[in-house]
């Protein structure tokens, strides 16, 4: 049960895996599979029961021509060099089932994917900003993102913070 090869065969047998949309190889993992979004929660549960922990969630904005996001999840074990890469692709306007009910850390990872890319997760307790200030409108890690709106914190608004201070020779001697 524990071996990665057996586990992914189980996923295959149950019909949870999908055909890859890109021929992009993944290395550094023992096994990797594309999983259908609707079976993601069931697959995660199977991995948890087999003793795997949720290692990381990465969103890649590579399937933009197809209008989709690619999510790469990795799961690893404590006792053996076994890492399983689970990849999901989803159209940009379709939410992905949340894994927050299976793995606690998924809540933060999904909030991050939501604020940086705009991936929607269904069944997540509350999608709110994690790393960016509350109310941030832009999705900075999208490939289409070029620059944030002008703000006082960068050089886009050129006025110095306090003009009178800068011209005072006593102040900046």
């Amino acid at each position: 049960m524990a071996a990665p090869a057996e586990l992914v065969r189980l996923l295959d047998e149950r019909g949870w895996t999908a055909e890859p949309p890109t021929a992009h190889p993944m290395s550094g993992v023992s096994e990797s599979r594309w999983v259908l979004p609707e079976h993601l929660v069931a697959a995660a549960r199977a991995l948890k029961e087999a003793g795997y922990f949720y290692e990381s969630l990465t969103c890649v904005d590579r399937l933009d021509p197809q209008g989709a996001f690619e999510l790469v999840l990795t799961f690893a074990r404590w006792d053996a060099p076994a890492r399983i890469g689970v990849r999901v692709w989803t159209p940009k306007d379709t939410p992905v089932p949340s894994l927050a009910g299976v793995f606690g850390i998924a809540e933060w990872n999904e909030r991050e994917a939501w604020e940086l890319f705009g991936v929607e997760f269904s069944g997540h307790p509350k999608l709110r900003w994690l790393l960016l200030p509350d109310g941030t409108e832009f999705r900075p890690l999208l490939k289409s993102f070029t620059a944030p709106p002008p703000s006082i914190y960068d050089d886009s608004l050129t006025a110095p913070a306090s003009p009178d201070d800068r011209t005072d020779p006593d102040t900046h001697g």
């Binding site: 992009h24 949720y54 850390i105």
Partner: protein, 378 residues
């Protein structure tokens, strides 16, 4: 100031909300915790992070592989060598760049010295959190000796950038092993002193025993790694489970402790330092001669092009398992780089662990997991 929305819980009206941070001496940087308290008891803890968010992942997409090297040591600035090596090794693996033997061993030596410096810094800061000022002066004194040694090789004290694709940019001097052994001897003489001063201290023991207990289920659910996991009785260490670099050729143990409280985490870190010393001693013995950077010229190539692929590469940093997910589309820049940082999971588990403890235990629990906030925020 943008209002942060604390998680509203359906608690009765006898609770109140207390804000801690982002400027608080015990939050180790810029962490903010929104605490819900009933009397002095923690009911709900909501960590608010992102005050150190610098956009490393976006930056990786704007830089060539070599240009991103300095960033790695600024993610977790206390284990800069380890992160720097990890980035080099991830790229080497994807590009198929060979690394000379000497560089492999030298990387281990520098990384283990860095781990020692990081743990020493943590011990000092943690005991300061618990109210002891003096131990910090001792541990920082030891740390300065290590930094001086690392500086003679890398040229910097904190944010190291010696790694190159295919080796290291600078070689270890001829007298490096001798100087390293002097530092190791100094450290070994200190263990007993630490044990006497700290582990025998009634206040320290009373404040750390039996607080902040992680169950194995919580560790699995949140992906806790590093010393915090080993203190929960799980012997997970990437250096052993998925050996990388020159680690397979060295003998070392993984210290574990079953209690999983703050004291166990302290104990595990001190034992880990002893193991690091053991690794360095073996590595100094086995340090081979030869070039430090591969001669094929790939290491110094500015515009390195990587083959198409997605590479996951994990190492054991001072705080736990650090992973790099590198996506290459064949260009000179990474298409996407994701950093799986250990403190992220180790802090997230606090939401589950903290409730039920007194507010006075909070600092003792939070300090014991050794978080680096800019690493979490990236």
């Amino acid at each position: 100031m943008t209002a942060q929305t604390p998680t509203l819980t359906a608690e009765p009206l006898d609770t109140y909300t207390l804000n801690m941070g982002p400027q608080h001496p015990s939050t180790h940087g810029v962490l903010r915790l929104v605490l819900t308290l009933r009397g002095e008891k923690l009911v709900h803890v909501d960590p608010v992070i992102g005050y150190g968010h610098r956009g490393h992942e976006k930056m990786a997409e704007n830089r060539t592989y070599a240009q991103f090297l300095p960033n790695t040591s600024r993610q977790d600035y206390l284990s800069g060598v380890i992160y720097n090596n990890a980035w080099c090794e991830a790229v080497e693996k994807l590009a198929g760049i060979p690394v000379p033997e000497r560089a492999l061993v030298a990387r281990v030596i520098l990384a283990e010295f860095n781990r020692l410096a990081s743990h020493l810094m943590w011990i000092g800061a943690y005991l300061l959190d618990l109210g002891g000022w003096t131990p910090q002066l001792y541990t920082w004194d030891d740390r300065e000796a290590i930094l001086f040694l690392l500086e003679s090789v890398t040229g910097s004290r904190l944010t190291y950038c010696t790694g190159r694709f295919g080796g290291l940019s600078r070689d270890l001097d001829a007298d490096f092993p001798a100087r390293a052994r002097v530092v190791l001897k100094k450290l070994k003489d200190r263990w007993q002193e630490y044990e006497d001063l700290v582990e025998g201290n009634v206040i320290f023991v009373q404040r750390t025993r039996g607080v902040g207990i992680f169950t194995k289920e919580q560790c699995q659910s949140y992906g806790v790694t590093g010393s915090s996991l080993r203190a929960a009785g799980v012997a997970y260490d990437v250096r052993k489970v998925e050996p990388y670099g020159a680690y397979p050729r060295f003998q070392f143990d993984i210290p574990t402790r079953p209690e999983s409280d703050a004291f166990a985490r302290y104990w595990v870190r001190v034992q880990e330092m002893k193991q690091s010393v053991r690794i360095i001693e073996q590595a100094l013995e086995q340090l081979p001669d030869g070039p430090i950077l591969t001669e094929r010229g790939l290491g110094s190539k500015k515009r390195l092009k990587l083959p198409v692929g997605t590479q996951y590469y994990a190492v054991e940093a001072a705080r736990g398992a650090y992973g790099i997910l590198l996506v290459s589309e064949g260009g000179t820049e990474p298409y996407r780089a994701k950093f799986r940082v250990p403190s992220y999971a180790n802090l997230a588990v606090m939401q589950d662990v903290m409730p039920g403890y007194m507010v006075a235990d909070l600092v003792g629990i939070l300090g014991s997991i050794d978080v680096i906030i800019p690493e979490i925020d990236r």
